[in-house]
């Protein structure tokens, strides 16, 4: 039996995601089990747990803070079950997911789309149950035509006036911690979190001190009523600068800001709607010592 993509809803922590695509992969770590006198074997033994990955891209509407809220919260405050992401794809679900990476391309006049990767450490449970339903009406997908890009209080070297296009990338190392007898980890250890923002700008310059240079770029995404509905910011140091020229093109100048901290400035959360339509605290990062972020 085959189904179309219309039949498979994607849900994260019970919230439907307006995803343009999604893929799930599962891999078992198996090794061949040789005995001393054998050159071949038909026996395999597991050497590690299941390694699962959910990748999807979703339209940024300004009402879907859930996934992004894990950037600031996950692994930052005392561990609790609320840090765990559960996912459901057409009825197949996992309940031990962790945000691995989150990225957005800032392209002029393009719809805002985020690309997310979630790691989980168990096989999928449940059965595939196709669903049918019409697309929601009155959905507004934010567009970079209505974005505004700003620098910090101290403008970056080189008098930047124009921000052409860029990317926002977040990644976090997530490693499962298995106790004896476990095939599904009872906890995970979070490695370093890195946020970087790459932006193509005007005014080519080669200024790059050995210790980097402080920089902040903040991108506000506005809706049709010019209300800021989403924000991506990176406050760190410029670690990379590149210049390039090609035939029939202008000289491109890009800077890369790297931030190894995910402070509240990186996330803009005005309201979270839960899966029953009410305002609520969903996911981690919505309540913390820093307040309601």
């Amino acid at each position: 039996m085959f189904y179309t993509a219309d039949n498979a809803k994607l849900q994260i922590n019970g919230n439907e995601i307006l995803a343009s695509n999604a893929s799930i992969s599962l891999s078992a770590s198996l090794q061949p089990n040789y005995t001393i006198v054998d050159r071949s074997t038909v026996n395999y033994v597991p050497s590690n747990g299941i390694n699962g990955k959910l990748d999807f891209s979703y339209y940024i509407t300004g009402r879907d803070y859930l996934v992004k809220s894990f950037i600031t919260g996950q692994g930052e405050i005392p561990m609790s079950t609320s840090q765990v992401m559960n996912g459901n794809f057409g009825g197949l679900f996992f309940d031990s997911g962790y945000l691995n990476s989150y990225s957005v391309n800032f392209s002029p006049n393009a719809p805002a789309i985020a690309t997310v990767s979630i790691s989980f450490f168990d096989d999928l449970e449940g059965e595939f149950h196709p669903t049918t339903g019409a697309a929601p009406t009155n959905t507004e997908v934010l567009n970079f035509e209505r974005a505004s890009v700003s620098q910090g209080d101290t403008p970056m070297q080189g008098e930047i006036n124009d921000f052409i296009a860029g990317t926002y990338n977040y990644s976090s190392e997530v490693k499962p911690v298995y106790l004896m007898g476990e095939t599904k980890p009872s906890s995970v250890s979070f490695g370093p979190k890195t946020t970087n923002m790459n932006f193509e700008v005007d005014s080519p310059t080669g200024f790059l001190p050995v210790s980097g240079t402080d920089a902040l770029i903040s991108v506000d995404l506005k809706n049709i009523a010019n209300v800021v509905k989403e924000n991506f910011a990176c406050s760190g140091v410029i670690q990379q600068r590149s210049l390039a020229g090609a035939v029939q093109d202008y000289v491109k100048h890009s800077i890369t800001i790297v931030e190894n901290s995910t402070q509240a400035v990186s996330t803009f959360v005005s309201k979270i709607i839960d899966n029953v339509g009410g305002e609520g605290v969903i996911g981690i990062g919505t309540t913390s010592s820093e307040g309601n972020i």
Binding site: N7, A8, K9, N109, T131, G133, N143, F144, D162, V247
Partner: protein
């Protein structure tokens, strides 16, 4: 009901810098398009809606009699030829475009292509095509910088109407000499007879879009490619691997177009670095074998 605009009230006016000209256009088309695409979500039937994915762009193209009634930079010709010559000879990249007005509609466009033909005993016709990107930011409720603005109305300008000058000021094959482009063979000597030529040039422009505004912050001219097809009666099999230089290694040659009078007034297209890259022959019933060679230049 909207006012009906007849073609005699839809003259095409082109302005470049501080000069302008109303062309003898025989047709004109204007299009304005926005790029919206439906977005779909998995798990849902139907589209979420249609959303923009690129900036609005306009196109204006028109055909016109190859007039030489204007004088630009001291040279007889029309403003499109003047614009094309200026762009291809430019060493600057920042392009400002030309203002095009027709029947109440207007916009600033960048010349995409320009072509004309010259044939024996025929009036020359030209065609030009512009792409309009708009520019800069558009404030709320303002559309000053959109690619195309205005509404259909009678043009309040008229084409050049000096009948005396028009009688001789339209490019024509009668007195246009294309011998500089003929094929000349040696041993034994044989010189081609040129029956006609088709000239065209296309320009590449690169608009720079940035996040936060629809229209480009600036537009750059990058490259141009020029082509001329010459119809004659000699087939040269001596085409070389690197092409044939036309008029020496520098390949500098002028295409001089005259009107219906054999005087010194001529519209000039200066071509440089010209190479012949193709030669062909064809024949049909009741006709001689005609050959065509293709000359190209790049800027």
């Amino acid at each position: 009901m909207a006012d009906l605009i007849f073609y005699d009230k839809a003259a095409v006016k082109v302005s470049v810098g501080g000069t302008s000209e109303v062309l003898l256009a025989s047709d004109c088309s204007v299009s304005f398009s926005s790029s919206v695409q439906p977005l779909y979500s998995i798990g849902k039937k139907g589209s979420l809606g249609q959303f923009p994915s690129a900036a609005r762009v306009g196109e204006i193209s028109f055909s016109f009699l190859t007039s030489m009634t204007g004088v630009h930079d001291g040279q007889p010709g029309n403003i499109i030829n003047y614009l094309a010559s200026g762009i291809k000879g430019s060493i600057n990249s920042n392009a400002s475009g030309a203002l095009i007005q027709v029947a109440g509609l207007s916009g600033t466009g960048f010349l995409n292509s320009y072509s004309f033909n010259i044939a024996s005993n025929s009036v020359s016709t030209s065609s030009a095509s512009f792409t309009l990107f708009g520019s800069g930011e558009v404030a709320n409720n303002e559309n000053l910088n959109v690619p195309i603005s205005g509404r259909l109305a009678n043009s309040d300008f008229a084409p050049f109407s000096d009948k005396t000058r028009l009688a001789t000021g339209i490019a024509h094959g009668r007195f246009t000499n294309l011998n500089d482009f003929r094929t000349e063979l040696t041993g034994p000597t044989s010189n081609g007879t040129v029956f006609g030529a088709d000239y065209s040039i296309s320009f590449n422009h690169n608009p720079i879009y940035k996040v936060g505004q629809e229209f480009p912050t600036c537009t750059y001219y990058t490259t141009a490619s020029e082509q001329m097809g010459v119809t004659e009666d000699i087939f040269s099999s001596g085409l070389s691997f690197s092409g044939i230089n036309v008029n020496g290694a520098a390949g500098n040659v002028n295409l001089n177009v005259k009107g219906l009078i054999d005087n010194s007034a001529q519209m000039q297209i200066g071509m440089s670095g010209v190479k012949q890259i193709n030669t062909s022959a064809s024949v049909g019933l009741d006709d001689i074998i005609r050959t065509q060679k293709t000359l190209v230049a790049a800027y």
